[in-house]
Symmetry: C2
Subunit: 338 residues, 2 copies
DNA sequence: CTTGATTTCCGAAACGTTTCGGGTATAAAA
DNA sequence: TTTTATACCCGAAACGTTTCGGAAATCAAG
């Protein structure tokens, strides 16, 4: 591959001048710049990024750190979409992008700092670290900027992007109320999960703000599983004919409820409105297509990438960003006619 | 970050010796090696890969080139899974991995060779290039090794991994015949696609080898789309009550056929057996779950990655690899009872 | 006591850039 | 004519490695 020296020789100018010409400095004559440009093109020259990074002390590449990159993961889609977002954004910003896949065990061999130093990463966006992964603390304390997706953590070189979990859940419940539903059940997942508590809170708060009495026996536990959700919903629907709507903390559980209605001969949405959470691929294919609140991992990826290069470049930008979950209206919800 | 020079100063040995000690050369005394090691550890030294690559002329990183990385793509899953395979394999081989996302338009700005040279890539695995993408030819002629997934192309520094497209498609059709089906329709996609012709061939050949007459009016065109497939299937099923099975060149089109049966009040698989291709995520959730032939993108990714580093390292390995598609038996196919 | 081999170490060059600090003309001002 | 400014160019050092070709010291053999 052609190097600067080659271009220098072929054009008759010094390496310095060639470099400056190609980099757009203005202390080089128009003519010689043109000459150099054409020679460079002719030789198919393109700069060696490694060498450049070495001297400039910045590599123009940011890492995308993901733990346990596994094909089985249910969140594949989430991960993949944020990856797309990161990739797209970085390419418009003219940054490169390397994928760093790590496991908890790998984190013991090499520190986070070393990982960054080796490749001279300018910054990194982190997705899916567990709260007790050693890298998390290291990342926050590191001097190389990082932004976390969905892990709200403050730090001087640290930013994060997350979504309006609470608000969007509230919005979903409000939607049901707006359509006239008063007896709204809630299918929750494992109680210890962060998202579960948030969605539970949303449910209670919206009920209260609308003067609807909260009933303990209206919240079921579906454990984020289709089957468990179905088994929970079956007897409940039998015993509570007054219930006209179901808010589910995940689409998978919503599918369970849907199954239950089928077995009972109930029609969705005429007899029961169902609203889910996550916007999984399946939700638009099921019958009826599921109204749900969807996250926007692609957007999160974009924002994370954008934020990290802004931080890297020393611009004064907010170190937190939100992307709105959005209520996706499909056909599993209808007005309450009772 | 600590550099070799730092370690050199702190340990009292020359940079050369430190380098050789750390790299396991045997012309360094046990004691001094230990000393150096401990100092290095203490300073948290880790080698700057950029500098190393620069002098060694090899970067220990291979690129994963993908065109039009888009979240919408139906093949997301395919792409993502091969990505996982590549990533996993490379990390066990101790190679790094950068994702190169390009579009047809981008290919005009920067040649393939330049792209490789810039990052000093040792090799690249390529996925999803179109047959007329300029990069394809460049890649084959390039001196940097590459292996293509699903594009069987020969070349000295080139390899490919693909699947037994034809055989697996045949197997699917044979399966239907084995179950007693004689009137088997074929839903094909865009005729110009490579896979379409292969699956079409499979269909015809198996029919012939079983002495079943090939009928032109039994092959429909669903354009790889659900809706188009449904619209094609509807009138066809009406006009051909004798047809008991459908072989579809993609799962998406199989879904279309499934829809058509629903509208007609036909039961799957009692009234009509359906077999798809691709094993998309959805296929196992739909009702009834779709029997389909599944590719193994993860495996392809692994093999591709493995092959490319073997080629890079000058080992004498076969430049082609196959991974078997497998027929995944679910519930959309039944014995022919007529 | 030489000679030669072995062990252990190191200086310097190289990889391909960027950039600092000038240098040499030419043109304008004094 | 001399000075000053301007436009254009370049040499050399630096970034952090690896590696070639020795060199010094130690040891064994003759």
């Amino acid at each position: 591959m052609a190097t600067l020296k080659d271009v220098s020789k072929a054009s008759g100018f010094s390496v310095t001048t060639v470099s400056r010409a190609l980099n757009g400095y203005d202390d080089v004559n128009k003519e010689t710049r043109d000459k150099i440009m054409s020679v460079a093109k002719e030789l198919g020259y393109s700069p060696n990024i490694l060498a450049r990074s070495l001297v400039k002390k910045q590599s123009k590449t940011i890492g995308f750190l993901v733990t346990d990159l596994k094909r089985e993961s249910v969140k594949d889609n989430f991960l993949f979409e944020t990856l797309c977002g990161v990739s797209d954004e970085l390419s418009t910003l003219d940054y490169e992008f390397v994928l760093l896949s790590t496991t908890t065990s790998k984190q013991k061999n090499k520190t986070y700092g070393q990982m960054c130093a080796e490749r001279q990463l300018d910054g990194v966006v982190i997705q899916g670290l567990k709260r007790d992964d050693p890298y998390l603390l290291e990342a926050i304390e590191s001097t190389v900027p990082c932004v976390l997706v969905d892990i709200p953590v403050e730090g001087v070189n640290t930013g994060y992007v997350t979504s309006n979990q609470l608000e969007s859940a509230k919005q979903a419940v409000r939607y049901l109320i707006r359509l006239g539903h008063r007896h709204i059940a809630f299918m929750n997942g494992a109680a210890h999960a962060y998202v579960s508590t948030v969605r539970y809170d949303a449910y209670r708060q919206v009920l209260q703000e609308n003067g609807i009495e909260f009933r303990d026996d209206y919240v079921l536990n579906g454990d984020f599983e289709e089957l468990a959700s179905k088994s929970a919903a079956l007897p409940f629907l039998l015993n509570h004919p007054e219930v006209t709507a179901f808010f589910c903390a995940s689409d998978v559980m919503a599918l369970g409820v849907l199954q239950a209605t089928r077995e009972l001969g109930l029609n969705v949405p005429e007899d029961l409105s169902i609203i889910g959470f996550d916007n999984i691929l399946l939700s638009q294919y099921v019958s009826p297509p599921l109204t749900t609140v969807g996250q926007q991992p692609y957007e999160m990826g974009r924002k994370a990438a954008s934020m990290v290069v802004h931080i890297v470049e020393g611009q004064d930008v907010p170190h937190e960003a939100f992307v709105n979950n959005e209520l996706i209206l499909r056909e599993s919800v209808a007005k309450n006619r009772r």
